[in-house]
């Protein structure tokens, strides 16, 4: 008891706050907490309502259960598919294939995007020449290339190719516009110290573009997943995209819905990982 008392006395003046929170402050904290909890509860409620409707509507035959399956059928299907069969690898292998192709795709898009945007920043004439091509390449529906990639790259590589192609151009454009947005006075400042072009890039432009890089990562992680799934629709015999096509062809909605649920989980985990990365990086700013 007395220990607590002394430590309080020691820390309170250093913190510079009133030792005892005022009643008004306590009210404010309570209000704050209530708002936060309400938002969480509402978010959870939406998910629950969705799942419950998905379960009840087909069971009440308001929707044809053949089209939608049930949430309660997903877990048993998932458990059943964990085991590999002679015709099919286990579902975790499928999931891993999709995740790996996505991670490789957006990592390559980030690396190439930074490299190409740096080159465009370095040689302004290069940017001026390539600008219209980049804009058109970005606007092209990349999924139109799925069959071509299949012919060019084969079944496995075409998935990776699509994953990269779908996110690369937007990444280049986003990162380059981030580079352009760096305060020219910061560059001038470095120049007054005699900075070389390489030093400008390494010490001003790249570190100043970290928020842009994270924004680009957010966009292209999602796009890469789209690219992988679409690539798998066409060409693969592995991956969640493949399972979706396979399940729908044999009219087994359980398989389709399980694969889609796994995709939702993969997206959520990616979102959490990027949010964590962003928080870690932005703490420095």
């Amino acid at each position: 008891m007395s220990k607590v008392e002394t430590s309080k006395v020691e820390t309170a003046p250093a913190a510079g706050a009133t030792p005892i929170p005022s009643p008004q402050y306590r009210d404010w904290l309570r209000q704050e907490r209530r708002t936060r909890l309400t938002i969480r509860a509402a978010q959870l409620a939406i998910l629950i309502v969705f799942v419950v409707l998905w379960e009840i509507l087909p069971r009440a035959h308001l929707i044809n259960p053949l089209f939608t399956s049930y949430p309660s059928a997903i877990w048993p299907t998932f458990v059943e598919m964990l085991k590999a069969t002679p015709q099919q690898p286990g579902i975790l292998t499928h999931t891993w294939a999709t995740v790996l192709a996505t991670v490789v795709g957006f990592t390559a898009a980030m690396a190439l995007g930074v490299a190409i945007a740096s080159a465009l920043w370095w040689w302004d004439a290069l940017y001026k020449v390539l600008d219209p091509y980049l804009v058109v390449a970005n606007a092209m529906p990349k999924t139109a290339f799925v069959p071509i990639f299949y012919i060019w790259l084969g079944a496995a590589l075409s998935v990776y190719g699509m994953s990269l192609a779908i996110s690369l151009f937007i990444t280049i454009l986003m990162i380059y516009s981030g580079f352009q947005g760096i305060d020219p006075n910061k560059i001038k400042l470095a120049q007054t110290f005699g900075a070389s072009k390489g030093q400008l890039l390494a010490k001003v432009v790249l570190p100043g573009s970290v928020p842009t890089l994270i924004a680009a990562l957010k966009v292209n992680a999602g796009l890469s997943l789209v690219g992988v799934v679409v690539g798998e629709f066409q060409s693969a015999n592995l991956g969640l995209g493949y399972l979706i096509v396979y399940g729908s062809q044999i009219l087994k909605m359980n398989i389709v819905m399980t694969a889609i649920t796994l995709l939702a989980i993969v997206s959520s985990l990616m979102y959490l990982a990027i949010a964590w990365l962003e928080a870690a990086v932005m703490r420095r700013r």
Binding site: N185, K188, A190, T192, F193, G194, K203, G208, R284, R285
Partner: protein, 267 residues
């Protein structure tokens, strides 16, 4: 420094400097036929209306811009690019928000490839002297405007330049901080025997800080006049800027320069 004063060599010299900007609409003459000599340890202010090329003049002396005519020399050597002898303080602090205060202060030394151990030691000393000792590992956003500008001064002086260029270094600050910091900066630069060139549109700032005020004409900027600022204080030393503002000579200089600038508010 003493020897160069004896031989009469200027610290900074401009010979017939002109600068034209080229654009698709035509060329703009920013500066024309500027010849100046600035002695070692001298504190010179350059004033003129906005757009008269004052800042451009500093960019030429610092070597980040090359003149289209004439030449710039520092210590009798032609300037071809940024040199370590010249430090440049810009209108705002432009601290890098991703670097700590100490990392910001050593930026110049880092770019110049100087010995980083020595640079860090100097930066810590400078920052401590400017009252920022306990903020070395803080981030710029945690500091006030006046503190940030002091970090910018430490960043400039950390590379140990002989000549310090000041481009309206207080314009982003509130008036109180501005006057207080002008005192501090002037004192620091005088004590360290730096040659200082201050560009400002604030006549009061120029008269109170500098011992020589050069007036530039409207575009194209040329030297219109060159005034020595003298205060007859008791011991013959130069009063601090704040004290200079209260000296009897201040208003005379101020009004003279005011008339010369022909400031007309245009409707």
């Amino acid at each position: 420094m003493q020897t160069s004063a004896v031989t009469g060599q200027a610290k900074v010299e401009l010979r017939g400097v002109g600068l034209r900007y080229f654009g698709r609409e035509g060329e703009t003459e920013a500066l024309k036929d500027i010849s100046l000599k600035i002695a070692p340890g001298e504190f010179v202010a350059i004033i003129g209306q906005s757009g008269c090329g004052k800042s451009t003049l500093l960019s030429l002396i610092s070597g980040i811009l090359a003149p289209t005519e004439g030449g710039v020399m520092v210590d009798g050597v032609a300037v071809t690019g940024p040199t370590r002898k010249v430090g440049y303080m810009l209108q705002q602090d432009y601290l890098f928000e991703w670097r700590t205060i100490l990392e910001n202060a050593v930026l110049g030394a880092e770019i110049q490839g100087a010995d980083m151990g020595g640079a860090r030691e100097r930066a810590v000393q400078l920052l401590t002297r400017y009252g920022l000792g306990q903020f070395l590992y803080h981030l710029p956003r945690q500091l006030s405007g006046g503190m940030r500008q002091r970090v910018a001064l430490a960043r400039t002086l950390c590379t140990e330049p002989d000549v310090v260029l000041l481009d309206e270094p207080f314009s982003a600050l509130d008036s109180q901080t501005r006057i207080a910091l002008a005192d501090e900066v002037t004192e620091i630069l005088r004590r360290e025997g730096k040659t200082a060139i201050l560009v400002t549109h604030d006549i009061g700032e120029a008269v109170s800080m500098a011992e020589r005020v050069i007036v530039l004409s409207r575009r194209p900027g040329r030297v219109k006049s060159d005034h020595a600022i003298r205060f007859a204080s008791a011991d013959g030393s130069r009063p601090a800027p704040f004290a200079a503002r209260n000296a009897p000579e201040f208003n005379g200089y101020f009004n003279g320069l005011w008339k010369e600038l022909e400031v007309h508010v245009q409707g």
